[in-house]
Subunit: 311 residues, 2 copies
């Protein structure tokens, strides 16, 4: 996958805005994804309604996100976004009952710290005085936003893993609801503006360039990849993939858009790689375990353990 | 111990300089320390000459430090100083033959990353363009400086632990040589300036205030604490103590000198605390070990293991 941020930036006009209606992109991506997903269909129709829930959570999340941004600036918002890593792990433990070792909890914390470190504004960059000076509501909404985002991810994993339905059929359900919600959003935008630009379906491809289509394709294929991760891996794998993709995007941006490399990006990458290793490496490769019950097989013939009473 | 940086800053004159000759401070601190150290004396006189080596290493280190600063600015120098954490661990392994688990190596790396993160310049602070743009000699000298500093620490630990001499007698030897080297430095300074201000012993207490004496006392007691750590703990414990003290100093400076708290200080503290826990926590509290050879004692009476041939 090409990191979405890079493609989106490339698809901007020279003035930095979008020539096309950005709201049409997720609609097309989700429609594309759901039409790709019609290969195998099993018939557990009763569970279809469960697939509307992620779309509802994302709808609430979008509104909370909007409300958060009225209280905090975008730098603070971006840094608070890393909370999602921690809330995902907590809901992963609570709802999916997956146990993490203490070291894995520390790895999750470090991943959030690492991605945050990479985003710390360097000297000379704008909007630094405003960091963490927002009203308390901003932070509470940020935490709520992180919780909702994690909840959508965890619920999707639950949906994808709860039965043996094919990934294609599950995707169809997931992205059909996604498409419907995006249509609703486009319609709502039209009503809000009093149809002064005409209905959305008449100007859906206005201003689309090849790069815009690449953004659509990329968003759609990312959606399919995430579904695949939810079914065959888990939310933690997704969180690591997303974080690594973000760091790769930042490194690529240094070359593509001649951004200045910062010490904090370098430190963030080291922290995240260490976190990855801490989380996924087999524990016995990380720690030297106390030697218990080890002996050369040839010297081990008969062991008699006397009966003990518990103390 | 009161962090030295805070006391030193407090002992400065209002113009930010020193009213006293700063070179007299380590001399007095080491003389004070060695005179405190005369309580118990054992008589392994042959080994006295070994105690001159740390002083020689520190002398070379001071000169390398001076040379490094001609190539790099102080921000880069400060950040490179964190390399000492890694070189100490490497020499600890190589010369003292102390094995670290992979997790402990990661903890050491994280500690260096954490202290560096806390020192990353925030927006609006000066001298950020110059970071990591110095000539290659600067970095090589920085690495040499980190190596020498670690070597002095590791050698001191070897000296303190090689026999059962009392800590007092070991301190006397260590700090007598330290005092002599400082006297040599004061004399060298006098010769360099052609005695225009008179010999150092005539103006040793010129400009001393109570705070200056606190700096001397603090430096002396820190020296005794480090000796104690070298004898009864080890260099890694010292490295963690120093790093935590540095972070505490930065937090205290926020209150004492109304410095602005930065996100990177907050992140650095989290990283260092995680590193501390990773290094020192018993491994079995960090990872869930695969259950091997566990059974209820009452059901375990006799175990017969058949003889196997090695495959």
């Amino acid at each position: 996958m090409i990191p979405q941020g890079i493609l989106t930036t490339l698809s901007q006009s020279d003035e930095g805005g979008y020539n096309y209606d950005y709201a049409t992109v997720p609609f097309l991506a989700e429609t594309l994804t759901s039409s790709l997903a019609t290969a195998k269909i099993t018939t557990d129709w009763r569970s279809v309604r469960l697939f509307v829930i992620p779309s509802i959570i994302y709808l609430i999340h979008n509104n909370v996100q909007f409300a958060t941004l009225t209280y905090v600036d975008t730098s603070t918002y971006q840094i608070m976004g890393n909370l999602k890593i921690v809330t995902t792990a907590i809901l992963f433990r609570l709802f999916l009952k997956r146990k993490l070792s203490n070291l894995q909890w520390m790895a999750i914390g470090l991943l959030a710290v690492g991605t945050t470190t990479s985003q710390v504004k360097g000297c000379g960059e704008a909007s630094c005085d405003s960091l963490f000076t927002a009203p308390i509501q901003g932070y509470l909404l940020g935490i709520l936003s992180a919780g909702l985002s994690a909840l959508a991810g965890i619920y999707t994993e639950f949906l994808m893993k709860r039965n043996n339905d094919s990934l294609y059929w599950q995707n169809l359900q997931l992205y059909t609801f996604g498409s419907l919600f995006n249509v609703a959003r486009l319609l709502a935008d039209d009503f809000r503006l009093g149809f002064e630009k005409g209905p959305w379906w008449q100007r859906i491809f206005d201003g689309y360039s090849i790069t815009t289509w690449l953004v659509v394709l990329n968003l759609g294929s990312t959606g399919l990849l995430v579904s695949w991760l939810m079914k065959y891996a888990d939310n933690i794998v997704k969180v690591y993939s997303t974080s690594m993709a973000m760091l790769l995007t930042m490194v690529a941006s240094i070359y593509l858009f001649s951004f200045k490399p910062t010490v904090q990006l370098f430190l963030g990458i080291i922290i995240c790689i260490m976190s990855l290793h801490m989380y996924f490496a087999p524990p016995q490769t990380l720690v030297d375990l106390p030697v218990t019950n080890e002996a050369h097989p040839k010297t081990l013939k008969q062991v008699i353990v006397e009966e003990k009473t518990d103390s």
